[in-house]
């Protein structure tokens, strides 16, 4: 039972990180109809910047710089590529983000090489025990920060003028544009927010129990895609639920590896995708996605 609770808690904390990434994914999709495959490499960019700068400038500066750099990169991608393609088919947009992703990822992996860059989190690799259930301090803080960020995001989404503008343009882009909402600005802001979320996720993703920044972080980030799809691409709440679900499933599968040994070693890493495919079989638009109705 303790093992179960511990896995559950760790799963939730991992899920919170996934939820951050997935949220960025969903915001971008809502604002600009782009399925952004760049999320993984943006996250790696954030992690890399933090790891490289925390040596000379200390952790706090590095973390801020990492967030800034990632947000800036996201903004650049939006301005230079996505904005020029407004109105293009969804598939073209997705493919172009894959192209950007290849460039960014290749450069980052070339720079990182086979090393594992260490990020000196001030809280280190310590773990705390809550009622007999252990969790690394890093993950605990991640959970809290993610919680706060998500609440702030949802409030902003609901009440701020940016949130209203974005919801309006997601609902009906043309009408929103006619009402004076600047689509370009909404989309740019969405990318910036997604970049920030990815960088914050990176900050915690490379801490304990993960060893540090390596090329493998990218594959971890990719597991947030199932989270976003699972919840429904256009549902912010869905991203949250999807992230948690994926995180818990992964932690449980990794924790009960012995019992699941017939599925092979490292099955935990595939679980997100298995869960996603099963959910999509039942609900093709994800758990909370809007069903697409066609009327003739």
């Amino acid at each position: 039972m303790t093992q179960f609770l511990s896995l559950l808690l760790n799963g939730i904390s991992l899920g919170a990180i996934y939820a951050l990434i997935a949220l960025g994914f969903v915001i971008i999709f809502k604002a600009s109809e782009v399925v952004s495959f760049t999320q993984g490499s943006l996250l790696l960019l954030g992690a890399y910047t933090i790891a490289r700068l925390s040596g000379p400038y200390g952790f706090l500066v590095a973390a801020l710089a990492g967030i800034l750099v990632t947000a800036l990169a996201a903004l650049l991608i939006e301005r230079l590529v996505i904005n020029r393609l407004r109105g293009a088919p969804v598939i073209s947009l997705a493919i172009v983000t894959i192209g950007v992703d290849i460039i960014l990822l290749t450069e980052l992996i070339r720079r990182i090489g086979p090393d594992i860059l260490n990020v000196p989190h001030p809280w280190g690799g310590d773990s705390v025990r809550i009622g007999g259930v252990g969790i690394s301090q890093n993950r605990l803080i991640a959970m809290l920060v993610a919680g706060v960020l998500i609440v702030v995001f949802f409030l902003a989404f609901k009440y701020s003028s940016w949130g209203v503008a974005m919801r309006a343009s997601a609902e009906d882009g043309e009408a929103a544009a006619l009402m004076g909402i600047r689509q370009g600005r909404v989309s740019a802001l969405a990318w910036v927010v997604a970049g920030v979320l990815a960088a914050v996720a990176a900050l915690f993703l490379v801490g304990a129990p993960t060893p540090g920044v390596s090329a493998a972080v990218y594959t971890v980030a990719l597991r947030a895609f199932p989270a976003a799809i699972l919840g429904g691409l256009d549902s912010t709440g869905g991203a949250l639920v999807g992230g948690l679900l994926i995180g818990i499933a992964e932690a449980l599968a990794a924790g009960y590896q012995e019992q699941l040994s017939f599925l092979g070693r490292g099955f935990g890493e595939v679980v997100p995708y298995v869960v996603m495919i099963i959910v999509l079989l039942v609900r093709p638009s994800g758990l909370f996605g809007t069903k697409e109705l066609t009327r003739v």
Binding site: V81, G87, I103, Y273, M276
Partner: protein, 412 residues
């Protein structure tokens, strides 16, 4: 680069805008000539070219088959799939399992193999890949394009996991070697029987070259004919509007499932050829990167165009190999472990950039570029289509991009 490839497109790409009314008299003579010339060049090439280029050539032929298959799915019917690497893996593994020998794998688990003739392995590989595609198609048929893109991503990771785990069949993490191909007693190896043509020894590379050429040609012709026939037109309608397609009597679900079947059979064949060209299979060869490479091929070549897919495959597959060959000549690029940018990395940069540029500036890819040149050659001044909308004058098999950003054609 593109200047050199345009005659190539003309020669191979018999997918000109369909009706005979549009074909000029001059062109109707030129085309078959070019096709024949290209074929002759391809046929006699092994007599003159070194083994390295022939091996590259076989890898390219394999990629062409796969790219054509993916293009049917993504380009023609508009379903984004990143699962191509998975279906390639199914084909490659089935081939090695069916035709491979049983035996020890170092100290650990024993490998199993059915030791059937390689032709059987090839056919089984293609069929099993098709079956895998068919099994996935219920998911595929229910999902809208973009959901499918991400869902198919999952298949790649599941595939790599299976390859790592299922040791008796796949050889596990280290992979296993693929058996030599042979056809009714004629092996595609270095000897048995010894073969000389015009004094040139025909060894493995030469033999495989012809095998690849035949398979790639067959794949090309089949896809082209498919696109020009009823199912092909149905698929194109499907891409443009599912509602319109179903109103016209196209069974949307069934067609989506079928195109998945065909595309994954192509991938299966491509996987078998991949295994033959590398000589072994290993899990890391069938990762996400492979899927993305195939996507790069069809985007570069031009979505929806069979000839374009072939062209893109040539470009993307040969790029790293050529870089490797000329590492000491090219600036910035270097051999592995010498500072500089490794050949594979440089190639990845280049095709990543190419994807972005193609989508931004020439959504028709290389095929679209060739098409534009051809139009301009025929009626100077009026070469560019005036509006962004793919008008009704577009014949379905024309290499006009399937994905065209809605904007003016001022991006010459």
């Amino acid at each position: 680069m593109s200047e050199q490839t345009i005659p190539d497109v003309r020669g191979r790409g018999s997918r000109a805008p369909g009706g005979p009314s549009s074909a000029g008299r001059r062109r109707s003579l030129l085309r078959p000539l070019l096709v024949v010339a290209l074929l002759v060049v391809l046929l006699v090439l092994p007599l003159y070219v070194e083994e390295f280029w022939l091996r590259t050539g076989f890898a390219v032929f394999g990629a062409i088959v796969g790219a054509i298959g993916l293009n049917l799915l993504v380009g023609t019917s508009g379903q984004l799939s990143l699962a191509h690497a998975f279906f390639l893996a199914v084909g490659a593994v089935s081939y090695t399992y069916v035709s491979g020998e049983s035996g020890g794998l170092g100290t650990r688990a024993a490998l199993r193999g059915l030791e059937l003739p390689p032709v059987v392995g090839l056919v089984v590989g293609v069929l099993l890949a098709g079956l895998a595609g068919l099994l996935f198609s219920p998911v595929a048929a229910r999902l809208r394009g973009i959901y499918l893109g991400v869902a198919s991503l999952g298949l790649v990771f599941i595939g790599v996991h299976l390859l790592n785990t299922w040791e008796p069949v796949t050889g596990g993490f280290n992979g296993r070697s693929a058996p030599e191909f042979s056809l009714f007693g004629f092996t595609f190896g270095n000897s048995d029987p010894q073969l000389f043509v015009l004094g040139v020894p025909f060894r493995e590379a030469e033999r495989l070259w012809y095998l690849g050429l035949v398979l790639a040609l067959a794949a090309y012709v089949f896809a082209r004919n498919l696109l020009r026939s009823r199912p092909g037109r149905a698929l194109q309608t499907l891409r443009d509007s599912e509602v319109a397609a179903s109103v016209m009597g196209v069974n949307v679900q069934a067609y989506k499932a079928r195109v998945f079947l065909v595309s994954s059979m192509y991938a299966g064949l491509s996987g078998v050829m991949y295994a033959l060209s590398i000589g072994s299979i290993a899990p890391e060869s069938f990762g996400l990167l492979l899927s993305i490479q195939f996507l790069a091929m069809i985007v570069l070549g031009g979505l929806g165009s069979v000839g374009g897919a072939a062209l893109g495959a040539v470009f993307v597959t040969s790029l790293p190999l050529v870089f490797l060959q000329f590492a000491d000549v090219l600036p910035l690029v270097s051999a592995p472990g010498e500072g500089g940018i490794a050949a594979g990395v440089a190639a990845r940069f280049l095709y990543g950039l190419a994807i972005v540029l193609v989508i931004l500036f020439e959504p028709g890819g290389l095929a679209g570029l060739a098409h534009r040149f051809r139009r301009r050659g025929r009626d100077p001044g009026g070469g560019d289509r005036p509006g962004p909308s793919p008008g009704p004058d577009d014949s379905p098999t024309s290499p006009v991009p399937s994905d065209r950003p809605a904007r003016g054609s001022n991006s010459t």
